[in-house]
Structures are given as structure tokens and as C-alpha cells.
Amino acid sequence: MLYEHPTYRIMGDRALLVELGDRISPLVNKKVRELFLCLKNNRVEGVVEAVPAYRSLLIVYDPLKITLSALKERLKKYHTTIDRSEIPKPRTLEIPVVYGGEYGPDLDWVAEFHRVPPEEIIRLHTGTTYRVYMIGFTPGFAYMGQLPEAIATPRRETPRTAVPRGSVGIAQNQTGVYPVKSPGGWQIIGRTTLRLFDPEKWPPTPLEMGDLVKFLSIKEEEMTRWEV
């Protein structure tokens, strides 16, 4: 449910959590994005950081430069007077994926779990447009949803200590790509050669919260063609 008025919660003396709704939904997330972009465009003095998430925006500020009440006033104003024409439309990006085999070691398990052939998992995974709800966990890790109910799968019972860079995973009704080698418990069904985190590039990750993403099934031989 979308809140009529945002809820403000303090996280210490220099961070304010603004909640726009009580659940994961495209509508609530859209409101988070609007408030985030509005705050970003206005470059408020004293705001150090803003982290948009599923249903909330965390604003980190310098309390010596802006008071909590002044910050709240600003946010209330933005919330009520937001000019949606200034909010850019979300972009759509394609992520090429080699499914199964050594690149997607959990694809067969996921297929067996749902009692369908692996091709059906690929068809369903590539047949949906996903929304980037938030980026977190590691640099550039995009939490995307919603996965079709027919392929929603629990996390692995034992997380892997190291998931290779580019691995495409699913967990419950979400999907995501591991941009850097990291530990992880998601079911790995494929891999992309698209580089989703490069600290020396700007922006460091091609995905942004609010973007729309489609996965594209490619053959192993095509992997290099997509490399960036």
C-alpha cells in the first residue's frame, strides 16, 4: 500500500529514512524514485547521500549544515509539489545471458524443482520485463522483480562462498546479476559478460534504480560479441 503521507524515521542524528509505502510494489518504488530524483536535482545543501530502496529513501545529511526539521520541511514540499514532467522515464536495458551448463550450475535443479524442462525456465526468465527496485548488497547488484510465479524458487540451502562475476541468479520472486565475485545464496541459472560494475568508469554501473531490464538468451559462442 502506498502511504498518503510518507513516514519519517530517524537513523541516528545524521540519517533520515523516508518510507513511501509498506510493501514491495512498482507503484511504491516509483514514488521512491520520484522523490530521490527530485532531491538529487535540487542539490540540497548538507545532503551527503541518498540511497533509494524498495519502499524507502535513506537520506544521509550533515547535521551541522542542515537541521532535521529543515530537511523534513524540504521533503514534505517536494512530496506535495513534485513536477513529474521533470522526472525522466525509466530506461530499458537488455542483458545477454548464457543459460545453464557451467555458467548456470543451478538451472537443472530449478527446472526439477518446478518439474519443467530447463528450456521452460529460460523462456519464462527471458519473457518478462523486470524493474530494478534497488541497488545494494555489493556495488552494482540490482534487485529486480517480479519473477513469474511459475519460476519463483527458494534460495540455496547452503550459500556459495564465491559466485563468479556476471552470474545471473534467482531467489524467491526476484532476479539479479552478481557484478563482482562475492558470496551468494541465489540459484545461479546463467552468466552475462556485460560488466555491471567498473569503479573506473562513470557511472560505475550501467543499471540504475527504476530501470527496466530484459534478459536475452544467447549461445556461448556469442558471449564475446556482447563484451563491453
Partner: protein, 318 residues
């Protein structure tokens, strides 16, 4: 003069990294701030050697660092007392000294605190990534080649000679922090304190917690009495942004104080350490005790103003 090779790492100790005040403003890309865990010591160290206070230093964890000067440089050691010695003679901390070419600075074991900072006149010449020289260890970028220092690494500084004249600057003895084994951290309740029972909140405020050995730069893991949530609460919440100092309570009821290597999280947070006490988080080590003290927002601002006042007066008095 430009960048000049100043220090050779003879032994790195268990964990020595390049850190400045942190990489802020990139949380929307999932990038955590990293940075010196004790920013007070970092800032004072830099000022002692004539740097900007947000310049990068070496953050030395517990023990073992040994370095050799490749040119005459100005140094200062702040933070934890890891018994620094310059050419085998004890080195006075919180004061700038000239380290002559060929001299060796070594750290043995902690007498108090957990992390010492070695500031170099002219800073540490590494390429800033996203406006910061801090090392992001888990993702392997920033700082010195995105990793902890190793034997044989050579660090460079910008025009070290220009800093030599600042020798002998010292922080007033009365202002030097002392680190005991029993910590009191001032906190503000929130953001999810309403998810806990009244008894849970009382347990949080009235108990001592142990710092466990599982603590590292990502978080300080505590053990103590279980802090209970209200009935019917799920184990996790919908993930949201987090800041350093926020105290999350996972399903087992044992608090974890988040440090600067995390940008989002899905556990509920009972309270958050006030900004003025954040530098202390860098100095707590396993085996020590922590108590939490609830304060008001006004108290928190007052404490921060006091801390910033100390740094400001020191900077202006130099």
C-alpha cells in the same frame, strides 16, 4: 616536486589499508563509504603533519606493521596505542616527527584501542576513485591497488619535503582520547525501535555486551542477552539503506553495529550510535564490553558540536 616514493612496507601486519574519510554519495550504486573507522584520529593525524584533514592515512589494525622511510618525511601516529617505535625507540603519539631516510617505524601489540593511523606529510599518492582514496576491501577497488598492503609495497607522497617544517606539532595532552575496555556508546532509538518489546529495549539499555572475535570492518558483532522483537514479527524487513553506527538485531537477538562497508540491509535496527561516538567504533576490540546509553537528538548535536569544536580549535591553533 610532485609525487615521491616515501615508504616501503617491510611487514604489513594482519590488516593495514589506505583510508581517507570515505566515499560518500555513491550509495545509489550500491557503493559503501569505506573510510577510516576512527575519523577523529585520521583528521588529527593529518593536521599534525600539515595535510588536509581528509587526506588518506594508513589504518593499522592491532599490530605488526613495519615500514622503512625512503626519504626524510614527516609522520604522526594517532589512534590506538600499538606501541610504535622509531628505530627501536618508543615514539610519542599524537605528535609529528621527522622520520629520516632509512629509519624504521614498527608497531608491536596494542596497549589500548584497536586501530592506529599513520599520517604522512604529503599524504598517500593513490588515484582517487569516486572522489576518495579509501580501500573498498570486499569489492577490491580504491586505496592501494584495491587491497590490503603487502610486504614490498612502496607508497608515495606528494612533495613530502614541504611538510618537514611542521615537525613538533602535538595535540594537547588533555584532548588525547583514552581507550579502555568498557565502552559506553550513546545512541538514539530508531529507526525500528517500535518493532521491539519494552522489555527488549530495556535489555538493550541495561545490559553489557561482549565484542566477539567475528567483528571486522563490516560490523562489530556483540553477544549478550537476547533482545526480543514484538510477537509476530518476521525475521527480516524489506531491505533499506543503512549508515555506519546503526545497530541491527538479526533473528538470534544479538546486536551487530554496522560499520562503513555496508550500504543496504534487511534486518531491523533498534538504535543508532550518535555521530560524536562513531570514532570510538574503530577502537573497540574483541573481548571488550559495551553498554548503550539512550540520549536525545539535542544531546547528540551538542556532543557533535563539542567534538567538531575540538578539531576546529586545533586546526586554527596550528
Amino acid at each position: 616536486m610532485g609525487s615521491i616514493e616515501t615508504l616501503e612496507i617491510l611487514a604489513p601486519g594482519p590488516l593495514t589499508t589506505v583510508q581517507d574519510r570515505g566515499r560518500f554519495g555513491f550509495g545509489r550504486f550500491g557503493i559503501a563509504p569505506s573510510g577510516a573507522l576512527d575519523s577523529f584520529s585520521l583528521r588529527i593525524g593529518n593536521l599534525l603533519v600539515g595535510n588536509r584533514e581528509d587526506e588518506a592515512c594508513l589504518e593499522i589494525t592491532l599490530l605488526g606493521l613495519k615500514v622503512r622511510a625512503l626519504v626524510d618525511s614527516l609522520i604522526a601516529v594517532t589512534g590506538a596505542d600499538l606501541q610504535p617505535h622509531l628505530n627501536r625507540k618508543p615514539l610519542q603519539m599524537w605528535r609529528s616527527h621527522i622520520m629520516k631516510e632509512g629509519e624504521i617505524l614498527s608497531f608491536t601489540v596494542p596497549r589500548s584501542g584497536c586501530r592506529a593511523y599513520l599520517a604522512l606529510g604529503g599524504g598517500i599518492s593513490v588515484t582517487p576513485l569516486m572522489e576518495s582514496k579509501s580501500t573498498n576491501l570486499s569489492s577490491g577497488f580504491g586505496g592501494f591497488k584495491g587491497r590490503a598492503l603487502r610486504k614490498g609495497d612502496i607508497l608515495a607522497s606528494d612533495s613530502p619535503r614541504l611538510h618537514l617544517k611542521a615537525e613538533g606539532k602535538a595535540l594537547d595532552r588533555k584532548l588525547i582520547p583514552t581507550y579502555g575496555k568498557n565502552w559506553i556508546l550513546r545512541v538514539l532509538f530508531g529507526p525500528q525501535d517500535d518493532h521491539f518489546t519494552e522489555k527488549g529495549k530495556k535489555t538493550f539499555l541495561n545490559s553489557s555486551f561482549n565484542v566477539t572475535p567475528h567483528s571486522d570492518r563490516t560490523g562489530i558483532r556483540l553477544s549478550g542477552p537476547v533482545i526480543r522483537t514484538r510477537a509476530g514479527m518476521e525475521e527480516s524487513i524489506i531491505s533499506e539503506g543503512v549508515v555506519s553506527g546503526t545497530i541491527q538485531i538479526p533473528g538470534d537477538g544479538q546486536p551487530i553495529i554496522i560499520l562503513g562497508e555496508t550500504v543496504t540491509g534487511g534486518y531491523r535496527k533498534i538504535a543508532t550510535v550518535i555521530s560524536a561516538d562513531l570514532p570510538l567504533l574503530g577502537q573497540m576490540k574483541p573481548g571488550e564490553q559495551v553498554n548503550f546509553e539512550g540520549v536525545s537528538m539535542e544531546d547528540a548535536y551538542h556532543a557533535l558540536g563539542k567534538l567538531e569544536g575540538i578539531i576546529k580549535r586545533f586546526r586554527e591553533g596550528l
